[in-house]
Structure formats: structure tokens, C-alpha cells
């Protein structure tokens, strides 16, 4: 397929807008981000989109490709569009700002609302010794690798249906904080996740997990929060 031309449609505008159509040469080893970049350089200098690292680390390049949310810098055209037809839109479940860039405030706001890291140690203390084999650390071995790309947030129907719902990424973050021995008030993190719109709003059917490009399981993290909630309910009668 190295020869030939890709038929590319890219969303132009904000919540109101239309698709622009572009013919982009097909190349060997071409990612969707490469295609978007080529369109911007050659045809559409005003095209807005986000990217930074180009190697799957920063989490800024996610878009909807042929109806599926994905990171674009590590998505090869060959894999997702063997026919050579690409429809590229901004991520779902967020306000569209311009072209492929959406307003991340809602997503990041929910992320921040589950709590920020607040420890008890001071500069004078030695670094915390976290045993890599401890159960709490093992729980979040994967979850802490989240790159904040919002793919799961876009994939989740409950996020689309319930504006109060924190969503998979924020709850995954809450799960990592809850299991972090250095966090001063882990109980408060759990309490926050148990509020209406928190972990119990999730239906556990796993669109987030099916789509996470890093291979994380927000569904598992959320199930962990639900179980922690049960334990605290049965033990202490709280919440």
C-alpha cells in the first residue's frame, strides 16, 4: 500500500464545523499523526492539532480515527485503514475548540478533583522506602503508567451520558493515590471516589480498558475502589 493515495477527511471547526477532504500520499511506515502533520504542512497551514513527543509518552496526540479513539503518533495507517480511507476527528466527550484540538478542562478538572499528591514527609526526611513487592504497590504497577491521553474518557459511554461522572482516567488516578503509602490522607481520596459520580457510576463493561493505548485497565482500578469502599463500609460503617 506504500504506493497510492490516502483519502483523508479531517474535522475543521469547533462544535459546529465540517469535514475537509485531502489526498495524502501513502507511505511506508506512516502514522496517523504523520498524515495530520503532512496535511497541515502542505494543504492547511491553519489546521490545529496537538502533539509533542511523537513516541507515545506525552499523551497529547489522541484523536478519533475512523470512529475509534486512539493515540495518533503510534497508530500506523496500515493497521487502522487498510483501504486507505481515514476520517479524523477530535476526541469525544469534550468540547471541540478548533479542528482536532478539544478543550481538555473538563477532563483534567476531573482528574485533579480526585486529589493531588500531598505527603507528610519534609525535605529532612529520607526518601520513602516503597517495597516494590508490597501488595499496595503491585496493585498500581500498571495504573501509574497512565499518560493522561483521555482516550478512555472518550471511549466511555457513561462519561457521555452522565456529566457528573468522573470517568476512568480520574478514577484510575484516585486508585493510584489511594495505594500510595506516602499520601497523607488516603481515606479522603477514597471518600472522594465514593461520592455520587464516583466509582459506583461505572458499569464495569470496560470500553476504557479495551481502548487504553498503554494497555492499562481503568476498569480494574475502579473495581478496586469499589471493593475498598465495600471493605470500609463493612468494617467501619462509614459512607
Amino acid at each position: 500500500m506504500a504506493e497510492g493515495t490516502l483519502e483523508v477527511r479531517i474535522w475543521r471547526g469547533g462544535d459546529e464545523g465540517a469535514f475537509g477532504a485531502y489526498a495524502v500520499p501513502a507511505r511506508e511506515n506512516q502514522t496517523v499523526l504523520d498524515v495530520v502533520t503532512e496535511v497541515q504542512r502542505r494543504f492547511e497551514p491553519s489546521l490545529a492539532y496537538r502533539f509533542s513527543c511523537r513516541v507515545g509518552v506525552c499523551g497529547s496526540c489522541a484523536m478519533t480515527i475512523n470512529g475509534t479513539p486512539r493515540w495518533t503518533c503510534r497508530t500506523h495507517v496500515k493497521r487502522v485503514a487498510p483501504e486507505g480511507r481515514l476520517t479524523i476527528e477530535p476526541l469525544r466527550n469534550m468540547k471541540r475548540v478548533k479542528d482536532l484540538a478539544c478543550d481538555m478542562d473538563g477532563f483534567l478538572g476531573k482528574w485533579a478533583s480526585v486529589g493531588t499528591f500531598e505527603g507528610t514527609a519534609t525535605r529532612a526526611d529520607p526518601p520513602a522506602a516503597i517495597d516494590p513487592a508490597s501488595p499496595a504497590r503491585r496493585e498500581v504497577d500498571a495504573a501509574i503508567q497512565c499518560i493522561n491521553c483521555a482516550v478512555c474518557h472518550a471511549a466511555c459511554d457513561v462519561v457521555a451520558w452522565d456529566p457528573h461522572y468522573l470517568g476512568p482516567a480520574a478514577l484510575n488516578r484516585a486508585w493510584t493515590l489511594y495505594n500510595d503509602a506516602r499520601v497523607a490522607d488516603r481515606r479522603a481520596v477514597l471518600d472522594g471516589a465514593l461520592q455520587p459520580g464516583g466509582c459506583h457510576t461505572c458499569h464495569s463493561h470496560g470500553a476504557c480498558t479495551e481502548h487504553c493505548p498503554v494497555g492499562l485497565s481503568p476498569t480494574a482500578s475502579i473495581a478496586g475502589l469499589k471493593r475498598a469502599g465495600l471493605v470500609s463500609l463493612l468494617k467501619g460503617g462509614r459512607s
Binding site: D162, H200, L230, S232
Partner: protein, 112 residues
């Protein structure tokens, strides 16, 4: 009631109902063979402590389980406010409980 409590109740009732539903399904398949008659149903249930308990518990857990699930659906799929939904669901649960237990009394109790 807190979300955590509702979650606990719904999963707990689900666990209780799983075997009950299985028995109920088998019973349905067996009972419909050759048509359903009141005599057949009542013959099995009337005066039976076992079926009285079985269906009494079944109704109770179903009346807890269904409104909690329906609450989620209404929240996500309708524009009804959260408070009205909660009250509607309490009413729905009570309705299920009353009608359900009445039905249990009807098929298990003395009868005519």
C-alpha cells in the same frame, strides 16, 4: 443512602438471586410443557413452606435490586432530576414488594 451502600445492596441481592433465577428458569421450562394451568401451579405451591420462603425471598431481593438498577438507567438516559428519581425508585420498590408478596400469598397461602 450512600452510593457505596446501594452498590453493596445491589451486588448482594444479585448474588442471592443468581441461584433463585436458575431454579426459576428451570421451573418455567418444565412448567410450560403441555400448557400452563392454575391447577398445576397452585398444586405445586399451595401450602408449601419451601416455595413460600423461596418466592418470599425472591420478591424481597428483586424489589431491592430492580430499583437500584433502574435508578442508574434513569439518571443516564432521562433528564429527570436526581431527587425525583430517588423518590420514584423508593415508590417502585415498595410497589414491587407489595404486589410481589401479595402474589406469593395468593399462590402459597390457603387459596380457594
Amino acid at each position: 443512602m450512600s452510593e457505596a451502600r446501594l452498590f453493596l445492596l445491589q451486588r448482594l441481592t444479585a448474588l442471592v438471586m443468581a441461584p433463585l433465577v436458575l431454579v426459576h428458569l428451570v421451573l418455567i421450562v418444565v412448567a410450560v410443557q403441555g400448557g400452563l394451568t392454575a391447577g398445576e401451579i397452585l398444586g405445586r405451591t399451595q401450602g408449601s413452606v419451601f416455595w413460600g420462603l423461596f418466592y418470599g425471598i425472591f420478591v424481597l431481593v428483586a424489589a431491592i435490586h430492580a430499583p437500584i438498577g433502574l435508578r442508574n438507567v434513569l439518571r443516564e438516559w432521562t433528564g429527570i432530576g436526581r431527587r425525583p428519581i430517588d423518590w420514584l425508585m423508593v415508590a417502585f420498590g415498595v410497589l414491587l414488594l407489595v404486589l410481589g408478596w401479595r402474589a406469593v400469598v395468593a399462590v402459597v397461602g390457603g387459596g380457594a
